[in-house]
Protein backbone atom coordinates (compact mmCIF):
# COMPACT_ATOMS: atom_id res chain seq x y z
CA UNK A 1 0.00 0.00 0.00
CA UNK A 2 1.32 3.47 -0.84
CA UNK A 3 2.21 5.93 1.86
CA UNK A 4 0.12 9.02 2.42
CA UNK A 5 1.63 11.94 4.30
CA UNK A 6 -0.47 13.88 6.81
CA UNK A 7 0.92 17.16 8.15
CA UNK A 8 -0.08 17.13 11.82
CA UNK A 9 -0.46 20.58 13.36
CA UNK A 10 1.10 21.08 16.76
CA UNK A 11 0.30 24.15 18.82
CA UNK A 12 3.21 26.28 19.99
CA UNK A 13 2.59 24.77 23.40
CA UNK A 14 3.25 21.35 21.93
CA UNK A 15 -0.29 19.96 21.81
CA UNK A 16 -1.42 17.80 18.90
CA UNK A 17 -4.28 19.63 17.14
CA UNK A 18 -7.77 18.08 17.21
CA UNK A 19 -7.65 17.98 13.39
CA UNK A 20 -5.11 15.11 13.56
CA UNK A 21 -7.89 12.52 13.93
CA UNK A 22 -9.71 13.44 10.70
CA UNK A 23 -6.47 13.91 8.81
CA UNK A 24 -5.16 10.45 9.71
CA UNK A 25 -8.60 8.91 9.08
CA UNK A 26 -8.56 10.39 5.56
CA UNK A 27 -4.96 9.26 5.03
CA UNK A 28 -5.90 5.70 6.05
CA UNK A 29 -8.64 5.66 3.42
CA UNK A 30 -6.04 6.42 0.76
CA UNK A 31 -3.09 4.34 1.91
CA UNK A 32 -0.73 3.89 4.81
CA UNK A 33 -0.72 7.03 7.02
CA UNK A 34 2.60 8.73 7.73
CA UNK A 35 2.26 11.55 10.27
CA UNK A 36 4.63 14.43 9.48
CA UNK A 37 5.27 16.49 12.59
CA UNK A 38 7.41 19.60 12.90
CA UNK A 39 8.44 20.60 16.40
CA UNK A 40 11.25 22.37 18.21
CA UNK A 41 11.67 19.50 20.68
CA UNK A 42 11.77 15.79 19.81
CA UNK A 43 8.34 14.18 20.16
CA UNK A 44 7.38 12.94 23.60
CA UNK A 45 6.43 9.25 24.02
CA UNK A 46 2.85 10.32 24.74
CA UNK A 47 2.61 12.09 21.39
CA UNK A 48 3.97 9.05 19.55
CA UNK A 49 1.45 6.83 21.32
CA UNK A 50 -1.38 9.26 20.59
CA UNK A 51 -0.55 9.48 16.86
CA UNK A 52 -0.39 5.69 16.70
CA UNK A 53 -3.80 5.47 18.37
CA UNK A 54 -5.13 7.84 15.69
CA UNK A 55 -3.79 5.54 12.97
CA UNK A 56 -0.26 6.72 12.09
CA UNK A 57 1.72 3.70 10.85
CA UNK A 58 4.82 5.85 10.75
CA UNK A 59 5.88 9.22 12.06
CA UNK A 60 8.29 11.53 10.29
CA UNK A 61 9.41 13.77 13.10
CA UNK A 62 11.23 16.89 11.88
CA UNK A 63 12.96 18.74 14.66
CA UNK A 64 14.06 22.34 14.22
CA UNK A 65 14.35 25.39 16.41
CA UNK A 66 12.62 27.32 13.60
CA UNK A 67 9.35 25.43 14.29
CA UNK A 68 8.10 28.17 16.59
CA UNK A 69 9.93 31.16 15.12
CA UNK A 70 9.49 30.92 11.35
CA UNK A 71 6.05 30.93 9.71
CA UNK A 72 5.08 27.82 7.67
CA UNK A 73 8.51 27.38 5.99
CA UNK A 74 9.64 24.60 8.38
CA UNK A 75 6.48 22.62 7.55
CA UNK A 76 7.15 23.02 3.82
CA UNK A 77 10.76 21.88 4.25
CA UNK A 78 9.64 18.88 6.31
CA UNK A 79 6.97 17.91 3.80
CA UNK A 80 9.34 18.15 0.85
CA UNK A 81 11.95 16.06 2.64
CA UNK A 82 9.30 13.49 3.60
CA UNK A 83 7.86 13.50 0.07
CA UNK A 84 11.31 12.66 -1.25
CA UNK A 85 11.83 9.92 1.31
CA UNK A 86 8.42 8.22 1.02
CA UNK A 87 7.28 9.03 -2.55
CA UNK A 88 3.72 9.21 -1.23
CA UNK A 89 0.49 8.78 -3.21
CA UNK A 90 -0.82 11.99 -1.64
CA UNK A 91 -0.10 14.63 0.97
CA UNK A 92 -2.82 15.86 3.33
CA UNK A 93 -2.90 19.06 5.38
CA UNK A 94 -5.68 20.77 7.29
CA UNK A 95 -7.61 23.51 5.54
CA UNK A 96 -6.28 26.10 8.01
CA UNK A 97 -4.15 29.13 7.13
CA UNK A 98 -1.01 27.16 8.06
CA UNK A 99 -2.14 24.00 6.28
CA UNK A 100 -3.16 25.76 3.09
CA UNK A 101 0.02 27.78 2.84
CA UNK A 102 2.16 24.71 3.38
CA UNK A 103 0.14 22.79 0.75
CA UNK A 104 0.41 25.65 -1.74
CA UNK A 105 4.16 26.05 -1.41
CA UNK A 106 4.70 22.30 -1.51
CA UNK A 107 2.72 22.12 -4.78
CA UNK A 108 5.05 24.64 -6.40
CA UNK A 109 8.16 23.04 -4.95
CA UNK A 110 7.26 19.48 -5.99
CA UNK A 111 5.31 20.24 -9.18
CA UNK A 112 2.09 18.94 -7.65
CA UNK A 113 -1.44 20.31 -7.45
CA UNK A 114 -3.71 21.28 -4.59
CA UNK A 115 -7.22 19.90 -4.12
CA UNK A 116 -8.63 22.38 -1.61
CA UNK A 117 -11.25 22.27 1.13
CA UNK A 118 -11.83 18.55 0.80
CA UNK A 119 -14.74 17.00 2.73
CA UNK A 120 -14.24 13.33 1.77
CA UNK A 121 -11.63 11.19 0.01
CA UNK A 122 -11.58 7.86 -1.76
CA UNK A 123 -9.08 5.65 -3.48
CA UNK A 124 -10.34 4.75 -6.94
CA UNK A 125 -8.00 1.95 -8.08
CA UNK A 126 -4.97 3.92 -7.06
CA UNK A 127 -6.31 7.34 -8.08
CA UNK A 128 -6.85 9.77 -5.24
CA UNK A 129 -10.33 11.28 -5.56
CA UNK A 130 -11.32 14.27 -3.44
CA UNK A 131 -14.83 15.45 -2.74
CA UNK A 132 -15.73 19.11 -2.23
CA UNK A 133 -18.89 20.79 -1.01
CA UNK A 134 -19.30 23.90 -3.16
CA UNK A 135 -21.43 27.04 -2.72
CA UNK A 136 -22.65 26.10 0.71
CA UNK A 137 -23.36 22.50 -0.20
CA UNK A 138 -25.44 23.34 -3.29
CA UNK A 139 -23.01 21.19 -5.31
CA UNK A 140 -20.87 18.16 -4.62
CA UNK A 141 -17.80 18.09 -6.85
CA UNK A 142 -15.20 15.35 -7.17
CA UNK A 143 -11.72 16.10 -8.43
CA UNK A 144 -8.36 14.46 -9.00
CA UNK A 145 -4.84 15.48 -9.93
CA UNK A 146 -3.53 14.66 -13.37
CA UNK A 147 0.28 14.29 -13.30
CA UNK A 148 2.23 15.22 -10.17
CA UNK A 149 1.62 14.86 -6.47
CA UNK A 150 -1.97 15.32 -5.18
CA UNK A 151 -1.95 17.65 -2.16
CA UNK A 152 -5.24 17.84 -0.31
CA UNK A 153 -6.33 20.36 2.29
CA UNK A 154 -8.96 18.68 4.47
CA UNK A 155 -11.85 20.71 5.89
CA UNK A 156 -11.79 20.54 9.67
CA UNK A 157 -14.58 18.50 11.17
CA UNK A 158 -15.63 17.04 7.81
CA UNK A 159 -14.10 13.58 8.08
CA UNK A 160 -15.83 11.34 10.56
CA UNK A 161 -14.48 8.28 12.30
CA UNK A 162 -10.98 7.25 13.23
CA UNK A 163 -8.35 5.18 11.46
CA UNK A 164 -7.53 1.76 12.96
CA UNK A 165 -4.93 2.19 15.70
CA UNK A 166 -1.32 1.34 14.85
CA UNK A 167 2.01 1.29 16.60
CA UNK A 168 3.87 4.10 14.94
CA UNK A 169 7.46 3.71 13.77
CA UNK A 170 9.28 6.97 14.35
CA UNK A 171 12.04 8.37 12.19
CA UNK A 172 13.52 11.63 13.35
CA UNK A 173 15.22 14.15 11.09
CA UNK A 174 16.77 17.41 12.13
CA UNK A 175 15.85 20.18 9.72
CA UNK A 176 18.26 22.88 8.64
CA UNK A 177 17.14 26.46 9.21
CA UNK A 178 14.81 27.44 6.35
CA UNK A 179 16.69 28.89 3.39
CA UNK A 180 13.69 30.44 1.64
CA UNK A 181 12.55 33.93 2.58
CA UNK A 182 9.86 33.53 5.21
CA UNK A 183 7.97 35.59 7.75
CA UNK A 184 9.19 35.57 11.33
CA UNK A 185 6.90 34.76 14.26
CA UNK A 186 7.41 37.28 17.04
CA UNK A 187 4.75 36.18 19.44
CA UNK A 188 1.75 33.93 19.95
CA UNK A 189 -1.34 35.44 21.55
CA UNK A 190 -3.49 32.58 22.76
CA UNK A 191 -7.24 33.02 22.87
CA UNK A 192 -8.42 33.11 26.46
CA UNK A 193 -9.25 29.53 27.38
CA UNK A 194 -12.79 29.01 26.23
CA UNK A 195 -15.40 27.14 28.21
CA UNK A 196 -16.07 23.44 27.97
CA UNK A 197 -18.40 24.06 25.00
CA UNK A 198 -17.97 21.78 22.00
CA UNK A 199 -15.93 22.90 19.02
CA UNK A 200 -18.06 24.72 16.44
CA UNK A 201 -16.89 22.79 13.37
CA UNK A 202 -17.73 19.34 14.71
CA UNK A 203 -20.52 20.05 17.20
CA UNK A 204 -23.76 18.05 16.98
CA UNK A 205 -25.76 21.13 17.92
CA UNK A 206 -25.00 24.77 17.10
CA UNK A 207 -26.85 27.81 18.45
CA UNK A 208 -26.08 30.97 16.48
CA UNK A 209 -26.94 34.57 17.18
CA UNK A 210 -27.26 37.50 14.79
CA UNK A 211 -27.67 41.24 14.80
CA UNK A 212 -31.10 40.68 16.33
CA UNK A 213 -29.39 40.10 19.69
CA UNK A 214 -28.72 43.83 19.75
CA UNK A 215 -25.70 43.92 22.08
CA UNK A 216 -22.90 41.78 23.45
CA UNK A 217 -24.68 41.74 26.85
CA UNK A 218 -27.76 40.28 25.19
CA UNK A 219 -25.65 37.68 23.36
CA UNK A 220 -25.60 35.82 26.70
CA UNK A 221 -29.03 34.54 25.66
CA UNK A 222 -27.34 32.56 22.86
CA UNK A 223 -24.85 31.13 25.35
CA UNK A 224 -27.59 30.16 27.80
CA UNK A 225 -29.54 28.23 25.18
CA UNK A 226 -26.31 26.66 23.89
CA UNK A 227 -25.46 25.48 27.38
CA UNK A 228 -28.77 23.74 28.07
CA UNK A 229 -28.43 21.99 24.70
CA UNK A 230 -24.71 21.19 25.05
CA UNK A 231 -24.20 23.19 21.86
CA UNK A 232 -21.40 25.16 20.24
CA UNK A 233 -21.85 28.87 19.62
CA UNK A 234 -22.05 30.39 16.17
CA UNK A 235 -22.85 33.82 14.80
CA UNK A 236 -23.68 35.83 11.71
CA UNK A 237 -21.12 38.21 10.26
CA UNK A 238 -23.22 41.15 11.41
CA UNK A 239 -22.98 39.90 15.01
CA UNK A 240 -19.20 39.50 14.64
CA UNK A 241 -18.81 42.93 13.06
CA UNK A 242 -20.82 44.46 15.89
CA UNK A 243 -18.42 42.87 18.37
CA UNK A 244 -20.99 40.64 20.11
CA UNK A 245 -18.79 37.59 19.68
CA UNK A 246 -15.35 36.51 18.41
CA UNK A 247 -14.74 36.22 14.66
CA UNK A 248 -13.95 32.53 15.04
CA UNK A 249 -17.68 31.98 15.70
CA UNK A 250 -18.73 33.29 12.27
CA UNK A 251 -20.76 30.82 10.23
CA UNK A 252 -21.12 31.29 6.50
CA UNK A 253 -19.50 32.03 3.19
CA UNK A 254 -16.44 33.62 4.73
CA UNK A 255 -16.66 31.90 8.09
CA UNK A 256 -16.96 28.33 9.25
CA UNK A 257 -19.13 25.77 7.42
CA UNK A 258 -21.08 23.53 9.76
CA UNK A 259 -23.31 20.48 9.21
CA UNK A 260 -24.65 19.69 12.69
CA UNK A 261 -27.66 17.57 13.59
CA UNK A 262 -29.37 20.71 14.86
CA UNK A 263 -28.76 24.37 13.97
CA UNK A 264 -30.70 27.08 15.79
CA UNK A 265 -30.58 30.60 14.33
CA UNK A 266 -31.61 33.40 16.70
CA UNK A 267 -32.18 36.89 15.30
CA UNK A 268 -30.46 36.00 12.02
CA UNK A 269 -32.13 37.11 8.78
CA UNK A 270 -30.64 34.26 6.74
CA UNK A 271 -28.69 36.15 4.08
CA UNK A 272 -27.50 33.82 1.34
CA UNK A 273 -23.93 34.19 2.63
CA UNK A 274 -24.99 32.99 6.06
CA UNK A 275 -27.00 30.09 4.63
CA UNK A 276 -23.91 29.02 2.69
CA UNK A 277 -22.36 27.94 5.99
CA UNK A 278 -25.25 26.10 7.60
CA UNK A 279 -27.83 24.89 5.08
CA UNK A 280 -26.47 21.34 5.13
CA UNK A 281 -27.46 20.99 8.80
CA UNK A 282 -29.80 18.05 9.40
CA UNK A 283 -32.45 20.10 11.20
CA UNK A 284 -32.69 23.89 11.15
CA UNK A 285 -34.68 25.94 13.67
CA UNK A 286 -35.10 29.70 13.29
CA UNK A 287 -36.56 32.32 15.59
CA UNK A 288 -37.01 35.74 14.04
CA UNK A 289 -39.58 38.46 14.49
CA UNK A 290 -39.76 39.17 10.76
CA UNK A 291 -42.17 36.74 9.15
CA UNK A 292 -40.50 37.25 5.75
CA UNK A 293 -36.92 36.63 6.89
CA UNK A 294 -35.24 34.33 4.33
CA UNK A 295 -33.96 32.07 7.11
CA UNK A 296 -37.48 30.61 7.24
CA UNK A 297 -37.05 29.31 3.67
CA UNK A 298 -34.54 26.75 4.95
CA UNK A 299 -35.94 26.18 8.45
CA UNK A 300 -37.61 22.91 9.40
CA UNK A 301 -39.16 24.64 12.39
CA UNK A 302 -39.61 28.41 12.40
CA UNK A 303 -41.02 30.69 15.04
CA UNK A 304 -42.07 34.19 14.12
CA UNK A 305 -41.52 35.89 17.43
CA UNK A 306 -39.27 37.90 19.68
CA UNK A 307 -36.16 36.00 20.77
CA UNK A 308 -36.20 37.78 24.12
CA UNK A 309 -39.55 36.23 25.00
CA UNK A 310 -39.32 32.90 23.15
CA UNK A 311 -35.78 31.83 24.06
CA UNK A 312 -36.06 32.14 27.88
CA UNK A 313 -39.25 30.03 27.70
CA UNK A 314 -37.50 27.53 25.44
CA UNK A 315 -34.65 27.22 27.91
CA UNK A 316 -37.14 26.51 30.72
CA UNK A 317 -39.07 24.02 28.58
CA UNK A 318 -35.91 22.13 27.59
CA UNK A 319 -34.71 22.07 31.19
CA UNK A 320 -38.09 20.78 32.36
CA UNK A 321 -38.07 17.97 29.78
CA UNK A 322 -34.53 16.85 30.42
CA UNK A 323 -35.13 16.54 34.17
Amino acid sequence: MSDVLALIEISHRGEIAASARGLLAAAARLGSPVAVVVSSEPLADDDVARLGELGAARIYSAVTAAASTVLVAPAVDALSAAAEAYEPAAVLTTNTADGREAAARLAVRTGGSVLADVVQVRNDNGTVVAQHSVFGGAYTVESTVDGGLPILTIRQGAIEGQAPAATADVSTASLEAPTAAAAVIERFNDDPMVSARPELRSAATVVSGGRGLGSSENFVLVEQLADVLGAAIGASRAAVDAGYVAQTAQVGQTGVSVSPQLYIALGISGAIQHRAGMQTAKTIVAINKDEDAPIFDVADFGIVGDIFTVVPKLIEAVKARSN
Binding site: E9, A17, L71, V76, N95, T96, A97, D98, E101, A104, R105, R109, G111, G112, S113, V114, L115, A116, D117, V134, A138, Y139, T140, V141, E142, S143, V145, D146, G147, G148, T153, A183, V184, E186, F188, L229, R237, Q247, Q253, T254, L262, I272, Q273, T283, F296, V298, A299, F301, G302, I303, V304, G305, T309, V310, K313, L314, E316, A317, V318, R321
Partner: protein, 255 residues
Protein backbone atom coordinates in the same frame (compact mmCIF):
# COMPACT_ATOMS: atom_id res chain seq x y z
CA UNK B 1 6.59 52.29 -2.77
CA UNK B 2 4.81 50.20 -5.37
CA UNK B 3 1.92 48.04 -4.22
CA UNK B 4 0.21 45.55 -6.50
CA UNK B 5 -3.25 44.45 -5.38
CA UNK B 6 -4.51 41.18 -6.82
CA UNK B 7 -8.20 41.38 -7.65
CA UNK B 8 -10.55 38.72 -8.89
CA UNK B 9 -13.93 39.01 -10.47
CA UNK B 10 -16.37 36.54 -8.93
CA UNK B 11 -20.10 35.80 -9.06
CA UNK B 12 -21.96 38.04 -6.61
CA UNK B 13 -22.38 36.06 -3.38
CA UNK B 14 -25.73 37.79 -2.82
CA UNK B 15 -27.22 35.78 -5.67
CA UNK B 16 -27.57 32.08 -6.36
CA UNK B 17 -24.30 30.89 -7.90
CA UNK B 18 -24.10 28.05 -10.36
CA UNK B 19 -21.66 25.47 -11.66
CA UNK B 20 -21.90 23.97 -15.13
CA UNK B 21 -22.78 20.36 -14.41
CA UNK B 22 -20.86 19.02 -17.40
CA UNK B 23 -17.53 20.66 -16.56
CA UNK B 24 -17.73 21.66 -12.91
CA UNK B 25 -16.63 25.12 -14.01
CA UNK B 26 -18.23 28.31 -12.81
CA UNK B 27 -21.25 29.45 -14.79
CA UNK B 28 -20.27 33.07 -15.36
CA UNK B 29 -23.59 33.86 -17.04
CA UNK B 30 -25.76 32.80 -14.08
CA UNK B 31 -25.66 36.15 -12.29
CA UNK B 32 -23.74 39.38 -11.85
CA UNK B 33 -19.98 39.27 -11.63
CA UNK B 34 -18.36 41.64 -9.18
CA UNK B 35 -14.94 42.36 -7.72
CA UNK B 36 -14.58 40.05 -4.72
CA UNK B 37 -15.26 41.92 -1.50
CA UNK B 38 -12.06 40.69 0.15
CA UNK B 39 -10.04 42.22 -2.72
CA UNK B 40 -11.77 45.54 -2.12
CA UNK B 41 -10.58 45.37 1.48
CA UNK B 42 -7.04 44.62 0.26
CA UNK B 43 -7.26 47.58 -2.11
CA UNK B 44 -8.60 49.77 0.68
CA UNK B 45 -5.56 49.01 2.83
CA UNK B 46 -3.26 49.84 -0.11
CA UNK B 47 -5.13 53.12 -0.66
CA UNK B 48 -4.75 54.00 3.02
CA UNK B 49 -0.99 53.55 2.69
CA UNK B 50 -1.13 55.82 -0.36
CA UNK B 51 -3.26 58.38 1.51
CA UNK B 52 -0.56 58.57 4.16
CA UNK B 53 2.42 58.50 1.76
CA UNK B 54 1.77 60.37 -1.44
CA UNK B 55 4.62 58.73 -3.30
CA UNK B 56 2.92 55.34 -3.15
CA UNK B 57 1.84 53.75 -6.42
CA UNK B 58 -1.07 51.31 -6.38
CA UNK B 59 -1.55 48.86 -9.25
CA UNK B 60 -4.60 46.60 -9.53
CA UNK B 61 -3.88 43.30 -11.29
CA UNK B 62 -6.41 40.77 -12.47
CA UNK B 63 -6.43 37.59 -14.51
CA UNK B 64 -9.75 36.85 -16.16
CA UNK B 65 -11.90 37.10 -19.28
CA UNK B 66 -12.83 40.34 -21.09
CA UNK B 67 -15.38 41.54 -18.59
CA UNK B 68 -12.92 41.20 -15.71
CA UNK B 69 -11.86 44.62 -17.00
CA UNK B 70 -14.87 45.93 -15.07
CA UNK B 71 -13.26 44.81 -11.83
CA UNK B 72 -10.15 46.78 -12.78
CA UNK B 73 -12.27 49.85 -13.65
CA UNK B 74 -13.87 49.68 -10.23
CA UNK B 75 -10.44 49.44 -8.59
CA UNK B 76 -9.23 52.42 -10.61
CA UNK B 77 -12.31 54.44 -9.70
CA UNK B 78 -11.67 53.68 -6.03
CA UNK B 79 -8.17 55.12 -6.37
CA UNK B 80 -5.71 52.64 -7.88
CA UNK B 81 -3.27 54.35 -10.26
CA UNK B 82 -3.16 51.76 -13.02
CA UNK B 83 -4.33 48.30 -13.94
CA UNK B 84 -2.86 45.11 -15.37
CA UNK B 85 -5.20 42.69 -17.10
CA UNK B 86 -3.88 39.21 -17.88
CA UNK B 87 -6.20 38.18 -20.67
CA UNK B 88 -5.78 35.01 -22.68
CA UNK B 89 -8.29 32.39 -23.82
CA UNK B 90 -5.82 29.67 -22.93
CA UNK B 91 -6.31 30.61 -19.27
CA UNK B 92 -10.01 29.72 -19.23
CA UNK B 93 -10.59 27.25 -16.42
CA UNK B 94 -7.00 27.57 -15.18
CA UNK B 95 -6.52 25.79 -11.84
CA UNK B 96 -4.85 27.36 -8.81
CA UNK B 97 -1.35 26.27 -9.79
CA UNK B 98 -1.56 27.67 -13.32
CA UNK B 99 -3.20 30.84 -12.03
CA UNK B 100 -0.41 31.34 -9.52
CA UNK B 101 2.33 30.66 -12.07
CA UNK B 102 0.75 33.24 -14.39
CA UNK B 103 0.27 35.86 -11.68
CA UNK B 104 3.85 35.34 -10.49
CA UNK B 105 5.17 35.95 -14.02
CA UNK B 106 3.01 39.06 -14.40
CA UNK B 107 4.13 40.36 -11.01
CA UNK B 108 7.76 39.84 -11.97
CA UNK B 109 7.13 41.80 -15.18
CA UNK B 110 5.27 44.59 -13.36
CA UNK B 111 7.58 44.98 -10.37
CA UNK B 112 6.48 45.70 -6.80
CA UNK B 113 7.52 46.17 -3.21
CA UNK B 114 4.34 44.73 -1.72
CA UNK B 115 1.66 42.43 -3.11
CA UNK B 116 -1.72 42.57 -1.37
CA UNK B 117 -4.42 39.96 -1.89
CA UNK B 118 -7.46 38.49 -0.17
CA UNK B 119 -6.98 35.42 2.04
CA UNK B 120 -9.45 33.43 -0.06
CA UNK B 121 -11.85 34.13 -2.91
CA UNK B 122 -15.57 33.58 -2.42
CA UNK B 123 -15.90 31.39 -5.51
CA UNK B 124 -12.94 29.01 -5.40
CA UNK B 125 -12.33 29.35 -1.65
CA UNK B 126 -9.04 27.46 -2.04
CA UNK B 127 -6.95 30.15 -0.35
CA UNK B 128 -3.74 28.85 -1.91
CA UNK B 129 -2.92 31.18 -4.80
CA UNK B 130 -1.06 33.86 -2.79
CA UNK B 131 1.16 31.24 -1.12
CA UNK B 132 1.87 29.63 -4.49
CA UNK B 133 2.80 33.03 -5.92
CA UNK B 134 5.05 33.60 -2.90
CA UNK B 135 6.78 30.29 -3.53
CA UNK B 136 7.29 31.07 -7.23
CA UNK B 137 8.75 34.46 -6.35
CA UNK B 138 10.64 33.09 -3.33
CA UNK B 139 9.10 35.70 -1.08
CA UNK B 140 7.77 35.74 2.45
CA UNK B 141 4.00 35.53 2.80
CA UNK B 142 2.18 37.14 5.68
CA UNK B 143 -1.16 35.41 5.21
CA UNK B 144 -4.57 35.72 6.88
CA UNK B 145 -3.80 39.01 8.56
CA UNK B 146 -6.27 40.85 10.76
CA UNK B 147 -4.10 43.99 10.72
CA UNK B 148 -0.89 45.15 9.09
CA UNK B 149 1.58 47.97 9.31
CA UNK B 150 3.67 48.52 6.19
CA UNK B 151 6.78 50.70 6.42
CA UNK B 152 9.45 51.45 3.81
CA UNK B 153 11.37 48.24 4.23
CA UNK B 154 9.27 45.92 6.38
CA UNK B 155 5.80 44.79 7.27
CA UNK B 156 4.45 43.73 10.63
CA UNK B 157 1.08 42.13 10.99
CA UNK B 158 -1.21 40.10 13.19
CA UNK B 159 -2.21 36.76 11.73
CA UNK B 160 -5.34 34.85 12.66
CA UNK B 161 -4.23 31.37 13.64
CA UNK B 162 -5.97 28.39 15.24
CA UNK B 163 -6.64 29.07 18.90
CA UNK B 164 -5.17 32.55 18.82
CA UNK B 165 -3.29 35.15 16.84
CA UNK B 166 0.38 35.55 15.95
CA UNK B 167 2.48 38.66 15.57
CA UNK B 168 4.57 38.24 12.45
CA UNK B 169 6.95 40.35 10.40
CA UNK B 170 9.05 40.23 7.25
CA UNK B 171 11.27 42.46 5.17
CA UNK B 172 10.11 43.77 1.79
CA UNK B 173 9.37 42.71 -0.86
CA UNK B 174 6.63 40.54 0.60
CA UNK B 175 3.13 39.25 -0.07
CA UNK B 176 0.28 39.96 2.34
CA UNK B 177 -3.22 38.58 2.47
CA UNK B 178 -6.00 40.28 4.37
CA UNK B 179 -9.04 38.79 6.08
CA UNK B 180 -12.49 40.28 6.63
CA UNK B 181 -11.21 41.92 9.81
CA UNK B 182 -9.73 44.59 7.54
CA UNK B 183 -11.92 47.67 7.10
CA UNK B 184 -14.59 47.80 4.44
CA UNK B 185 -13.63 49.58 1.25
CA UNK B 186 -14.47 53.15 0.36
CA UNK B 187 -16.99 53.84 -2.39
CA UNK B 188 -15.70 55.33 -5.63
CA UNK B 189 -16.56 59.02 -5.74
CA UNK B 190 -17.64 60.96 -8.81
CA UNK B 191 -14.14 62.27 -9.52
CA UNK B 192 -12.75 58.78 -9.12
CA UNK B 193 -15.19 57.39 -11.65
CA UNK B 194 -14.32 60.11 -14.16
CA UNK B 195 -10.55 59.84 -13.80
CA UNK B 196 -10.67 56.04 -13.90
CA UNK B 197 -11.42 56.23 -17.61
CA UNK B 198 -8.09 57.94 -18.25
CA UNK B 199 -5.95 55.67 -16.11
CA UNK B 200 -3.72 53.21 -17.96
CA UNK B 201 -4.55 49.52 -18.15
CA UNK B 202 -1.91 47.17 -19.56
CA UNK B 203 -3.12 43.97 -21.13
CA UNK B 204 -0.77 40.99 -20.96
CA UNK B 205 -1.13 37.74 -22.87
CA UNK B 206 0.44 34.42 -21.95
CA UNK B 207 2.94 34.77 -24.81
CA UNK B 208 4.27 37.98 -23.28
CA UNK B 209 4.96 36.31 -19.95
CA UNK B 210 7.58 33.87 -18.87
CA UNK B 211 5.34 31.23 -17.27
CA UNK B 212 6.95 27.98 -16.14
CA UNK B 213 5.17 24.96 -17.61
CA UNK B 214 3.43 22.72 -15.09
CA UNK B 215 3.01 19.01 -15.68
CA UNK B 216 0.39 18.75 -12.97
CA UNK B 217 -3.20 19.96 -13.03
CA UNK B 218 -6.46 19.39 -11.21
CA UNK B 219 -9.34 17.72 -13.02
CA UNK B 220 -13.01 17.78 -12.08
CA UNK B 221 -14.42 14.27 -12.44
CA UNK B 222 -18.05 14.84 -11.42
CA UNK B 223 -20.42 17.60 -10.38
CA UNK B 224 -23.77 16.92 -8.73
CA UNK B 225 -26.41 19.40 -7.66
CA UNK B 226 -28.12 18.99 -4.32
CA UNK B 227 -31.87 19.41 -4.08
CA UNK B 228 -32.68 22.75 -2.47
CA UNK B 229 -34.02 22.64 1.08
CA UNK B 230 -37.73 22.98 1.59
CA UNK B 231 -39.24 25.17 4.29
CA UNK B 232 -40.95 23.31 7.13
CA UNK B 233 -43.38 24.47 9.80
CA UNK B 234 -43.64 28.14 10.68
CA UNK B 235 -45.51 29.23 13.81
CA UNK B 236 -46.43 32.73 14.82
CA UNK B 237 -45.66 32.95 18.51
CA UNK B 238 -48.79 33.27 20.63
CA UNK B 239 -47.01 32.39 23.85
CA UNK B 240 -46.91 28.63 23.26
CA UNK B 241 -44.37 28.41 20.42
CA UNK B 242 -41.45 27.77 22.78
CA UNK B 243 -43.06 24.68 24.30
CA UNK B 244 -44.06 23.41 20.86
CA UNK B 245 -40.48 23.80 19.75
CA UNK B 246 -39.27 21.95 22.83
CA UNK B 247 -41.66 19.10 21.96
CA UNK B 248 -40.42 19.07 18.38
CA UNK B 249 -36.82 18.82 19.60
CA UNK B 250 -37.69 15.99 21.99
CA UNK B 251 -39.73 14.11 19.38
CA UNK B 252 -36.81 14.32 16.95
CA UNK B 253 -34.31 13.31 19.64
CA UNK B 254 -32.45 16.56 19.26
CA UNK B 255 -32.21 17.22 22.99
Amino acid sequence: MKIVVLVKQVPDTAEERKLELATGQLDREAGDNVIDEINERALESALRIKDANKGTEVVAMTMGPDDAAQALRKALSMGADSGVHILDDSLNGADTHRTAATLAAALRATGFDVVLAGNESTDGRAGVVPAMVAEYLRLPLLGSLISADVTDDAVRGVRQGEGGTLNVHAGLPAILTVTERFPEARFPNFKGILTAKRKPVTTLSVAELDIPASRSRTVVVSTAERAPRAAGRKLIDDGSAASELAEFLVANRLV
